[in-house]
Symmetry: C2
Subunit: 420 residues, 2 copies
């Protein structure tokens, strides 16, 4: 099993046993972190962001902003930064060379070596990463919310979180995912990025990408898989609740819409930046680190509003070499329901363009809100049942995120108590 | 437009203007030929069988039988031979160095340079090509019907046939097909071999192979096509009539089940040998010469009875290098109707193996014979209408070959009158 990840570097693992860590972290300056930072600490520590070993220093941020590369030349498209106000830095007397203890859920969580304290022009960062300075773009808005200083340096997870049900069945670190892929005997597999519950249009995106990925494989055995890689991160009202996303995708395999031996549902933690093409590159990097060989990109991947052309996230891969990015993009247009064909068909093949019926989010939403079972060719009945069940069990009656869910949801993970 | 065909050789074209030929062929010994030989003369002369320039000499037959290669080392899997009885050879005084005038439809048709007259062990030929000596195997039976001598030598078409309606719209020589592919802007295209009218299972074989062929192509334009390559040759009772085969396939494009810009129906002439894996190689060679880059092979390609494992024709491509065969095989398992999915699904992906409903030829046949329109997800209504129309117009009331069709059908082509 290879442990080589993005940039040809070995998968980063910066996780230590809490028992061993406890002596070293006692007395460190404690810094409570918000959820986004906690998620990124977990991703860095388990190597999802290989070759990053921590939050970026100024040279890395500069490289990413100016050239879409880290200071060492490895392709990277989104700044991964730890922000802190100059007031807090002064108040706590933080200086380069210190080690900070990051606190999550009021527990010791990870250490951060303060290698560099720097500031950065946030307008420039936004303009270069998102192609716009518009504060209505959620990625720009997130950038503008950063405090006025960044701390660059390595992180180490000293108190690994425990994943909560139902996520515990779907969280695989890069090392674990690689072991799982080896166990399944997949020589190739294709990542399906999602933050949706799947209708049959999504199913066909996965089937398409499996076929494309499998293209020239011989017949003897199953050596190609689909890895659903659901993005768990900051939720907004109206999003699908996370529990519905993972459990409905898993249902596609459980109820035979995908064979047991070709399909796997998993999660990563990431707060969407909606950076369109640059985010597509970032997603490709993370899935490379998971040991996945191909990555599906559909229409308007990681886009928002009309900031990007629907296929900008396809085109950017024409500018990246196989040496710079090991994963192979599978670029798919649209699957829609065609009433003439009586089935879900591909925009690149079906000629009934006037009759086509797009899978509109609004229509799907109204189906779900009405609670009336749609035809099985649009929505699998088992998927529909699980949407309703998860709404009751986890969503305070709704499959869509509401205020109550935002305030009271079961968190993705629990940081175990650790006495210093 | 490249004119390089199989074996890296330029596409053979051995066709002369009848007006120029007439002086040279007057007085040659006239040999009436049967339909199989006429079809092979046409294929050779237009370069479908490049690098062959004529019927095989003994060294080529030996190479094909023993090593699946011509004497010059180029991969070749089926003997292409011109047989004649020793009695006829003696009666007509044919000797090496002669040129014969092959007569078709009582008209001068082609010349054959008698390079070599030889005999061959037909049992050995059958055993090596078909993997069996069983005379119930139609390929063996065809082999055993050969006369006791073969004549090897170049052929030249001196009186090109005129294709009859409806075939005239679908017959493209290798040079014409390459021009058509260039005109369509296809950088890749995939051949779909057929002797069937298409149900939706066939449609999905084509869609699957298009997706696999298109796999890593960028988004900007249509650069991948499907070329239906229907095999027109000796008919047996119960086969679909040729007119139904070509017109129904064309209807898939005409009525939008394939986009205008991705689909083309064409024909080749060939009497099926049912040689399974070896015939798959042969089909790949012919489509290479047509300028096609990929070739779909489904279950039991060119097989018959239980002489071959359903996927022997997939496995044989593992033994052939890209240097030996330029076309890329796309190996597809089965598409079936799945009542749980409510659609046509792929055996490699769909887990509802107990519920699956194969597209049985018997069921499809009974549907057609009853004349009751099946659901559009199984059989396109326009395809069904054309089956009934062609049955009336060309099939003496039947879409399946019967005695009357065998005796009175409109031939594929007419050899124009040519006075010597």
């Amino acid at each position: 099993m290879s442990l080589i990840g993005h940039g040809g570097k070995e998968i980063v693992e910066r996780v230590v046993d809490p028992k061993e860590a406890v002596e070293k972290i006692r007395g460190l300056t404690q810094i409570p972190i918000r959820d986004q930072i906690a998620r990124e600490v977990i991703m860095i520590s388990y190597g999802f962001f290989t070759p990053l070993e921590g939050f970026m220093t100024k040279a890395d941020v500069d490289g990413v902003v100016e050239n879409m590369r880290l200071a060492n030349g490895v392709v990277w498209s989104i700044p991964i930064v730890f922000d802190m106000s100059s007031e807090e830095i002064a108040a706590k007397g933080i200086k380069e060379g210190d080690t900070l203890l990051l606190m999550c859920q009021n527990q010791p969580f990870a250490t951060l070596d303060v290698e560099e304290i720097f500031d950065y022009d946030l307008k420039k960062m936004a303009a270069k990463i998102y192609g716009t300075e518009d504060d209505k773009h959620p990625g720009c808005a997130r950038t503008y919310r950063y405090a006025d200083r960044f701390i660059g340096g390595k992180v180490t997870l000293v108190n690994p979180p425990k994943m909560n049900e139902p996520y515990d069945a779907f969280f695989l670190t890069p090392r674990q995912m690689r072991a799982k892929i080896a166990e399944k005997g997949w020589e190739r597999c294709v990542a399906h990025q999602t933050r949706n519950v799947p209708h049959s249009g999504h199913e066909w995106l996965m089937k398409h990408s499996w076929i494309a990925c499998h293209a020239d494989q011989p017949v003897e055995k199953t050596i190609t898989g689909v890895v659903v890689s659901a993005v768990m991160g900051e939720k907004r009202k109206g999003d699908y609740i996370d529990e519905a996303i993972v459990l409905t995708h898993d249902a596609l395999r459980k109820y035979g819409y995908f064979r047991e031996d070709v399909h796997l549902t998993s999660i990563i933690m990431w707060d969407m930046r909606y950076a369109g093409p640059k985010e597509a590159i970032f997603h490709a990097i993370v899935r490379t680190n998971l040991g996945i060989t191909h990555h599906m990109f559909g229409r308007d991947h990681a886009g928002v509003g009309s900031y990007y052309d629907p296929y900008d996230a396809h085109r950017i891969f024409d500018t990246i070499s196989k040496e710079d990015l090991r994963i192979t993009p599978i670029r798919v247009l649209e699957w829609w329901y065609c009433p003439v064909c009586g089935e879900v068909t591909y925009s690149g093949l079906c000629g009934h363009t006037k009759e086509r019926q797009n899978f509109s989010g609004t229509v799907v939403r109204s189906i779900i809100q009405d609670g009336v079972k749609p035809p099985r060719i649009i929505f699998r009945p088992e998927v529909f049942d699980i949407i309703l069940e998860t709404a009751e069990k986890y969503g305070f009656g709704s499959a869509y995120v509401n205020d109550q869910y935002l305030a009271q949801r079961q968190p993705l993970f629990t940081v175990p108590p650790l006495e210093l």
